[in-house]
């Protein structure tokens, strides 16, 4: 497509609209992010490498990205389940549950963190039953995953829900007329149709989890090399007036996140290759 499509556009003003979009994105996103790169550039290459590859920093990458990935996978699975139940079944209290899904969006993350920590700690409502059987959640990496699942839940549900609602019942009927069982219909017909939406939700949940700070620090325990997340490490550096070091780590996070999201977007594009 031509990059200017004046001819067949209903709304006039391609030039001002694009101009404003670029200006706005620059102001809100690009300029702050480039400041990050400029600040990082005050470090020499060796200092940069030292700052971003210290053992404690490397461990924090593992914790952050590992836990985010695990949380996003769990959310992708249970998010589809929740969306399915909300779309396909009618039951009392459905509206309430539908509203409940958005709560992690609205709740201050610190409140969520404190609540989760108190529930899963060794004398909390759930922790007191789990701890005796050897499952420690609060103040371990597992706790980080739980917090990330909590804050990421709405993304998959809200992206998959509209797709499921629009799904034509006849397609399923066609599949069963052709001899497909329920599982075959789900795996071969429904899942591929939902996949682009699931991947979008997955990417959003993952990105949110990588950037999450407030709810995690209360439940993580923040033990260096074990349960310390990268955002916390950045705050720690800032508190020590090591601005360049903090921005260096931020830069690495930014680049890695960007690459991962890019991969997911490509995957998503592939998964909807049929919709042209």
């Amino acid at each position: 497509m031509a990059w200017s499509n004046r001819k067949n556009n209903v709304l006039p003003g391609f030039t001002p609209a694009l101009g404003y979009t670029v200006f706005y994105l620059s102001l809100i996103v690009l300029i702050p992010l480039s400041a990050l790169f400029f600040k990082t550039a005050t470090l020499s290459w060796d200092d940069f490498l030292a700052a971003v590859s210290a053992p404690r920093v490397l461990a924090s990458y593992r914790v952050t990205f590992g836990a985010s990935l695990a949380a996003a996978v769990v959310n992708a699975f249970f998010g589809v389940l929740v969306a399915w139940v909300l779309v396909r079944y009618r039951f009392p209290g459905k509206k309430l549950i539908d509203a409940l899904v958005d709560l992690p969006f609205a709740l201050p993350t610190a409140v969520a963190g404190i609540t989760l920590a108190s529930i899963y700690s060794s004398n909390g409502w759930l922790g007191r039953y789990l701890e005796p059987s050897g499952i420690k959640i609060a103040f371990t990496p597992l706790g980080i995953v739980i917090a990330m699942i909590f804050i990421g839940l709405p993304f998959v549900v809200r992206t998959v829900q509209p797709v499921l609602e629009e799904l034509d019942q006849e397609v399923e009927e066609a599949a069963s007329c052709l001899g497909a069982g329920r599982w075959q219909t789900f795996r071969r017909v429904l899942l591929p149709t939902m996949l682009p939406a699931i991947l979008t939700g997955f990417a959003l949940a993952f990105a949110r989890a990588v950037g999450e700070y407030g709810s995690i620090i209360f439940i993580a325990g923040n033990m260096p090399l074990v349960s310390e997340i990268t955002p916390l490490l950045i705050i720690t550096k800032l508190e020590q007036y090591d601005y360049a070091g903090a921005t260096a780590i931020s830069t690495v996070m930014l680049v890695v996140s960007f690459l991962m999201l890019l991969c997911i977007n490509l995957l998503q594009k592939w998964s909807r290759r049929f919709a042209e």
Binding site: D168, E170, V171, E173, A174, A175, S176, C177, L178, G179, A180, G181, Q184, R188, V189, P192, T193, R273, F274, A275, E276
Partner: protein, 354 residues
């Protein structure tokens, strides 16, 4: 495979979609279920497919009870009005779907599936589009793919729900002729639903006219068209003009015309309605026995026909379809006084309102 429908009823809430419907579809026949929307034709088709369960009554395939058989075990091919293709699969994969979901033991080999799909693509004349996605096809092409997909599993029964309803007029005519030829080749027992009388008359071996959840009449297209059993069937198949009058012991008196009506021999001076198709009326310049005086109100050329709107002295309208050359010969103009002679009239005693 033959289908027997025995006393099937179905209600949706307070709406009665089918009431006590019985129908036999002999093996190898192409049957049309014809009726207006809400007449229960689609419900009946879905019950045969197993997509709905009847409230009462039985469905038998080849004389064997199949009322509670699962959809996937019924071996029916179903074609939907809006195609219901799997849009994330190519044309090839769509057609192959039914073969690839078979249990391991019955599933044909890869090459066998490939050969089968290609022979079906040839049948629907879309061989070069095997790798396209449904989104890249036209409506007519999509419906042919849907048909090939249904045929791939070699169904015992083919069910089509308004298969041409979403297509434009020209494609619709092409595709229904193609379906007729296809059926002449493969002879699978087929039932298709339509509200288009022309489609039913052209394609089907037998027509079942439905109205308000019941069967009004069934028969060959010419039986149903030439000898409608009820006023509803008369009205539904083609344009009709209504004449009000009375009938007494086999003789009807309709707006100044006297004619014999042997079906109503037992009638005793009962109010009656005469039905005349718009192409069964002749227009004459001169007065004669059995013709009604009328005035030309409106003339409209519709392709090979000329539609003439007449009005009787009492104000009643008559619609006449004349062949073009006959209309030219008469040289009709709006306002002309003419005489309309019904060539064929069917009289029903007026206990029935349409």
């Amino acid at each position: 495979m033959s289908i027997d429908i025995e006393a099937v009823s179905k209600t949706f809430g307070s709406f009665s979609a089918l009431s006590d419907v019985s129908l036999k579809v002999p093996s190898g026949e192409l049957v049309a279920l014809l009726g207006p929307s809400g007449s229960g034709k689609t419900s009946l088709l879905r019950i045969i497919a197993g997509l709905e369960t009847p409230d009462s009554g039985r469905i038998l395939f080849d004389g064997v009870e199949a009322t509670n058989r699962q959809v996937k075990d019924r071996q029916v091919g179903f074609v939907f009005q809006h195609y219901a293709l799997f849009r994330h699969m190519t044309v090839f994969d769509n057609i192959a779907f039914g073969l690839t979901v078979k249990p391991k033991k019955e599933r044909p080999g890869k090459q066998e599936i490939k050969d089968k799909v290609h022979s079906l693509l040839k049948l629907i004349q879309l061989e070069q589009l095997a790798d396209r996605y449904p989104g890249q096809l036209s409506g007519g092409q999509r419906q042919r793919v849907a048909l090939a997909r249904a045929l791939a599993v070699e169904p015992q029964v083919l069910l089509l729900d308004e298969p041409f309803g979403a297509l434009d007029a020209k494609v619709r005519v092409e595709l229904r002729r193609w379906l007729r030829r296809l059926h002449d080749e493969i002879h699978v027992t087929s039932v298709f639903v339509t509200h288009d009388q022309e489609e039913a008359l052209e394609v089907a071996d037998r027509i079942v006219v439905m109205n308000q959840g019941q069967i009004e009449q069934q028969g060959t297209p010419s039986e149903v068209y030439d000898r409608p059993a009820t006023p509803f069937v008369y009205d539904f198949l083609g344009n009709v003009n209504l004449f009000k009058g009375r009938v007494h012991e086999g003789t009807a008196q309709m707006g100044g015309i006297k004619l014999s009506s042997p079906e109503n021999a037992s009638a005793n001076d009962a109010p009656a309605v005469g039905y005349v198709r718009s192409h069964d009326i002749a227009i004459e310049r001169d007065s004669s026995e059995g013709a009604l005086k009328a005035e030309v109100r409106y003339l409209l050329s519709v392709g090979p026909l000329v539609r003439v709107d007449l009005s009787l002295p009492d104000g009643g309208p008559i619609e006449v379809d004349l062949p073009r050359d006959e209309a030219d010969k008469l040289g009709l103009k709006v306002g002309d006084q003419v005489f309309a002679r019904p060539r064929k009239m069917r009289v029903f005693v007026d206990d029935y309102q349409i």
